[in-house]
Amino acid sequence: MKYLLQYTYRYCVGIVAFVTLTQTVCAQTESDAIMIPKNYLCVAGMYAHNNWDHYWEGTLKRENLNLGDISSNIYNVGVVYGLSNRINISAFTPYITTKASAGTLRGQRGFQDINLAFKWMAVREQIGRGLLSFHAIASGSIPVGNYQGDYLPFALGSRSKSIAVRGLVNYQIGRFFVAGAGQYIRRDNMTIDRDAYYTTEMHYTNQVALPNATNFLVSAGFRSLLLNVEAIATKYTTLGGFDITRNNMPFPSNRMNATAIGGLVKYMPQTIRGLEFTAGSNYVVAGRNVGQNFQIMGGIDYVFSVKKEKK
């Protein structure tokens, strides 16, 4: 049992992908290959800081002296529970604050969405010298705060429901692994405070159709009982949406694409079993209608059994 725990759990909480002009939070638990054993609970807290001063207006990269630096702080807390060794469920809710360093526009603060995930390790077998696993992950988000979604770039999120499916393959040989994942995100319409808006044409409604999205990830790294190190590249693409026109404001149904690269380090002191520290960073290297975000994050989590192990 101890072996299984040490070998498999990791990243109870992970990176926060700041992929758009808005804040998108995703707990890494649903994007890695690691499972928590049955009856184990992980309690996690995470902080991330995002900052950008350049953004893509359509494909044109620019700055905005009337906004300066756009920054946000994300405080994410949540739990992951092992329903079985092959099925984990998780719930996370971030509290977010946003602000600009120039101009007068007021930032926002508040709870964003509750992010729920159901992760199933469908395949786990020895292939060649390594261990191959395939995971199917269903996740969804539901707004918890009554925040203003149509207030970019300060909005905490789009204040709409979303549901996603993800397939993830992980292959590990010894202490080295590579992983790849693909995700399809279906997004609900959002309700805005205005009763009309212009995209590429006028719309007389307070409902906004948000484009669905895909999210691809590749990662590779090293895992030991003491330390994990990995490099991650992600590519988030909205399927549809429109470009911000010259000197216009961003809008939630913009086409928002972002390619980011980053790294993650995790330290598990062997003195206190179940305690983990995570630190990471990522940077948007290419984008469209999104900020060129730089993120640093740190997290702490604690994994423990909720049932007494039989001696």
Partner: protein, 514 residues
């Protein structure tokens, strides 16, 4: 057991995935019914037009309904009606809601598209759009609120005049609609006893398209596509023949010429001003012992259309603009000023979600139809319920939009006469819930536009007068909640707007339409 739970979960997830996210949206203006006027206003030929009371227009005498040419026109309609595609049926459904209504929506759409402040040059100065080169950046026009108010006004007034003129010819020629002249022509719109020559839809399309040559010269391809689509609609619907249409479109263009001449000489073209003008506002304010307004944008942007104050109003005598200019704003340091300032600072710290909602609902800023456009949408959604004739639609929107244009002139006159700073200029650290418009604070444009609009709409639809004024008040106060205006800017703006609106009401009472 475990496997079964797994399969059920997977199945449930799949069902949830497909069902949980709504994707269909029905927009309010897609549900407007086909226009079936309660009263066709056959006497509208006697209504008083805005500019064309003494003008002469020519419309060729139509051919008799027994002539080969007219019969050919009918055959064209029947050939369309034989094979209507679903796309053509959609065109009929769209346009049958009303010509004045749809052209008003098209205009609002163009305003929203063009309501974007130009990006600065590398040296920190700002380029201005050029009417002569509308498709070069910055695109012409920058349809900010005064520009938009004037565009709505000229288009609506010209549509109204064109329809009054059309009614004269309709009555004098008295040629019925195709569906009345041939039993084999179906009426795919509600039948009307109104004579069809010249076509009222064509008059509206013709006059509007011609006005766009001045107002939105970079979008004429889109406009002409819409004209062609509406023409096809009238033919397919059996409501007009090709000759009904062509006569109407031609009459519309003639009427537009009168309004274009007026618009080209109303001084709006010089409203941007020059550096000398901009500096003078500043020195005048200092000389009067006041803090002059400065642009809060980076880099500092020249004030928006400061000489719009000099534009010739449509309703008010030009001298009245200064006569109804409200008294000076509270002077710095007075108790009233301090009280208003404290209130703005309190709003800046007030995180009420309801305030955020109100601010966003009425913001009508960059990339929107502007406050006058918002009131056009409110008016249109109300008018749809009343089944007005096309000519009454046009008359009502003309009254509304002439009031909005004159409200813009009076408001801008007040703004630039006092050149009064925004609260955010006076106290650092005030946070706003919406962007700060690039012009002086006193009086609020939103409040002035809304006061004028609610007054006109309250006259047109008396049973909702109180409601409209409540909305106008909320629109005005939204600027205080947003931290970009003092309360006094909003209340005085609203009252000033009401005064301007009264001129439109007086005009409406005397135009013979009642």
């Amino acid at each position: 057991m475990k496997t079964r739970i797994l399969y059920i979960s997977a199945l449930l997830s799949a069902a949830l995935f497909v069902a949980s996210c709504k994707k269909d949206i029905t927009e309010r203006n897609q549900e407007f019914p086909a226009l079936a006027p309660a009263n066709i206003d056959l006497n509208a030929d006697t209504w008083v037009p805005i500019l064309t009371g003494a003008s002469t227009f020519t419309v060729a005498t139509p051919e008799a309904i027994t002539t080969p040419n007219y019969l050919a026109d009918l055959n064209e309609i029947k050939s369309y009606q034989k094979n209507l595609t679903s796309e053509q049926k959609d065109i009929i459904k769209y346009w049958s809601a009303g010509s004045v209504l749809r052209w008003n929506e098209i205009l609002r759409e163009l305003v929203a598209k063009h309501n974007l402040p130009p990006y600065q040059n590398d040296d920190g100065s700002y380029p201005f759009p050029s009417a002569a080169n509308p498709l070069a950046y910055p695109l012409f026009p920058f349809s900010n609120p005064p520009y938009a108010a004037r565009a709505y006004a000229y288009v609506s007034a010209a549509q109204y005049d064109a329809l009054v003129q059309a009614w004269k010819f309709k009555k004098s020629f008295n040629r019925a609609a195709p569906y009345k002249n041939d039993v084999n022509v179906q009426a795919l719109v509600p039948k009307s006893d109104l004579p069809a020559y010249p076509s009222e839809d064509a008059v509206v399309a013709g006059v509007t398209a011609q006005m766009m040559v001045l107002l939105f010269p970079g979008d004429l391809d889109y406009i002409q596509k819409k004209v062609a689509e509406e023409k096809l609609f009238r033919l397919m619907a059996g409501a007009n023949t090709r000759s009904d249409w062509d006569a109407g479109e031609n009459l519309g263009k003639q009427v537009a010429a009168v309004f274009l001449a007026r618009a080209r000489s109303d001084k709006a073209g010089a409203a941007i001003g020059t550096q000398t003008d901009w500096t003078k506002f500043e020195t005048d304010a200092k000389a009067a012992g006041n803090t002059p307004w400065i642009s809060l944008e980076l880099p500092h942007r020249p004030p928006m259309l400061p000489l719009f104050t000099k534009v010739t109003p449509l309703l008010l005598p030009a001298a009245t603009v200064a006569a109804i200019r409200p008294a000076a704003p509270y002077k710095e340091g007075t108790a009233e000023y301090e009280k208003d300032m404290q209130e703005v600072m309190a709003m800046s710290n007030d995180h009420s979600r309801e305030h955020e909602r109100i601010v966003a609902f009425w913001a009508d800023g960059v990339g929107t139809t502007t406050p006058p456009g918002h009131w056009n949408a409110i008016a249109a959604e109300e008018f749809v319920k009343h089944n007005y004739s096309e000519v009454r639609w046009a008359r009502n929107l003309a009254l509304l939009n002439m009031a909005e244009m004159d409200a813009a002139i009076v408001c801008w006159d007040t703004k630039y006469f006092y050149f009064n700073p925004r609260p955010t200029q006076m106290v650092a650290g005030i946070k706003t819930l919406t962007g700060i418009p690039n012009f002086p604070s006193y009086i609020s444009g939103h409040a002035t536009f809304s006061g004028a609009a609610a007054t006109v709409l309250g006259y047109l639809v008396p049973e909702r007068a109180t409601e409209f004024m409540t909305m106008a008040n909320e629109a005005g106060m939204s600027r205080l909640y947003g931290g970009i205006h003092y309360r006094n800017d909003c209340t005085v703006g609203l009252a000033t707007g009401v005064k301007v609106g009264a001129y439109a009401v007086a005009k409406g009472k005397a135009d013979g339409s009642n």
